[in-house]
Symmetry: C2
Subunit: 307 residues, 2 copies
């Protein structure tokens, strides 16, 4: 089934311990939709500038990602420049919003009736705008955000969160959002606002699903060569939501098990992303590669291995 996903498309300039890349394809919606693409179809809702390359449009199309809700505006595509220190912390050097400043998402009729909605990291007011345009209540709404919006659009962000089924954020974001350093307390603070479930991303330490009365922890896959952490979180969300929206997900599993397995698939897709610069690691992942890492991860968690 189809996911409508609003988020950014960007050209990123990235410097890590492994090298430097200039103006490579990035953005939250890009990583999300590519990570989800082998599992489910995505209607991408985003904006690019006149500089956006036709080869990149072709990459989306080749991966069956619907880009008819991607506007092209006069000016340049959103640009982010950053570097990662040896511990993997990102520092932003330049943020050129460019066409993102004048973006007003407009959903086609079919996008506004999609059964699944993902609100990738973007201005919470745009996330609210997309929520308002949905003509049919989606089965599942999942959202993400970042420090910048927690600080600058706090009230709009809480309006978004109140409408989500799952919020997917990292530890630092959860701490900033709640002003609470203990991550378990921070999570329950957010759940107490009425959100049913929360996923805390912890980078190389994996992720944690938290509900009022339950926890589920997934480790990260052992990756020896982390090349570029950009987009890992968006790819996690893409694998997670792609798994849930995949045609076979609910065939023979209880919803709770599907959500848990979806976290494993999110972890798998993030692992492909970090091994290469930009979207290189996820633009052509085969079904076999996905399943292989999924099984590896399952075995890492099992007291009694099944394979």
């Amino acid at each position: 089934m189809t996911i409508t996903a609003v988020g950014t498309i960007a050209y990123d300039s990235i410097s890590t311990e492994r090298g430097k890349r200039n103006y490579i394809l990035g953005g939250s919606a890009t990583y999300f939709s590519l990570a989800a693409s082998g599992l489910a179809k995505t209607n991408l809702v985003s904006v690019v500038g006149e500089d956006f390359k036709s080869s990149h449009r072709a990459l989306f199309s080749k991966n069956s990602i619907n880009i008819e809700n991607v506007s092209t505006l006069a000016g340049k595509t959103f640009h982010w420049e950053g570097f990662y220190d040896e511990t993997g912390n990102a520092e932003t050097i330049v943020t050129d919003l460019n066409v993102l400043q004048s973006f007003n998402p407009i959903l086609t009729d079919s996008s506004s009736r999609a059964p699944y909605l993902f609100l990738a990291n973007i201005d919470p007011d745009l996330q609210l705008d997309v929520l308002r345009q949905m003509q049919k209540k989606p089965k599942l709404i999942v959202g993400d955000t970042m420090n910048f919006w927690i600080e600058s659009k706090n009230s709009s962000l809480w309006q978004v969160i109140s409408q989500l089924d799952f919020l997917i954020i990292n530890e630092g974001e959860a701490q900033l959002l709640t002003q609470e350093s203990n991550i378990i307390k921070a999570s329950h603070y957010i759940l107490n606002k009425g959100l049913p479930a929360l996923i805390i991303k912890r980078g190389a330490y994996g992720s944690l699903l938290i509900k009022k009365d339950a926890y589920f922890a997934v480790p990260a896959l052992p990756i020896e060569n982390v090349t570029d952490p950009t987009g890992a979180g968006d790819s996690f969300a893409g694998g997670f939501f792609g798994y849930i929206a995949s045609p076979t997900a609910f065939t023979d599993l209880a919803p709770e098990i599907t959500f848990k397995k979806a976290m494993l698939m999110g972890t798998v897709m993030a692992s492909f992303t970090v091994e290469h610069f930009g979207v290189e690691g996820i633009q052509a992942v085969s079904h076999e590669e996905r399943i292989h890492r999924f099984r590896t991860l399952e075995n890492m968690m099992q007291l009694i291995n099944i394979s």
Copy 2:
């Protein structure tokens, strides 16, 4: 079955966000043996000064910990003073080695024939001394260390490691030992020296068992009130080795499953330790409390919950 364990007994002065305690019972062998005590018997090999309180001797005896290999020397008990910042990082203010400087472990005949040997964090030359005194090759030898010994006694430490079945260290120690920041690469560097298995402790992120061709990850329990992290790693080791040495461990399980379940028990005992200052959290844990947290942790890891 019985574990012979060499390590420190200390009086600690600890300051955390939750308060301050002066000259409370601590030390690697203390935490280890108390955490193991509900599961298996320990012959403690250590040293104290003339200031060591009879109430603390009584605490060991009450928990069926054999202290006949604990020497009492003229002078004061080893004293450590430190504080933890809000992120849980420890900073040492004072280390008074005191009687530890003139300690020469001497094992009783029965201690030197114990089936299990734990080398807690202490001078690697003392760990080697104990290894040499073992009259019968133990079934399993597990060891721990810390940054101070990695830097000051590197060669002796590698001699110890080469005789272990499991090394249990934290991420920072693994990185320092190998000069490699990627923890997966660091682990394989150590395994390539001939060690069969390694457990990496990751604090609030849990722990990771690494063998040449296998990984097993255990999350930490969700703890809302971390009072004092001192001894968490030693308690993990105590729960881990205590489980392995417990009378029922190998009754109906394959060794691989026992080692994995032992990691869960290590995690459980560490969780009791961090909730209180010093040994308050582990000096009287009931069987039911242990099992309850063990089941909680099992459920946190399971795709399909069994309870």
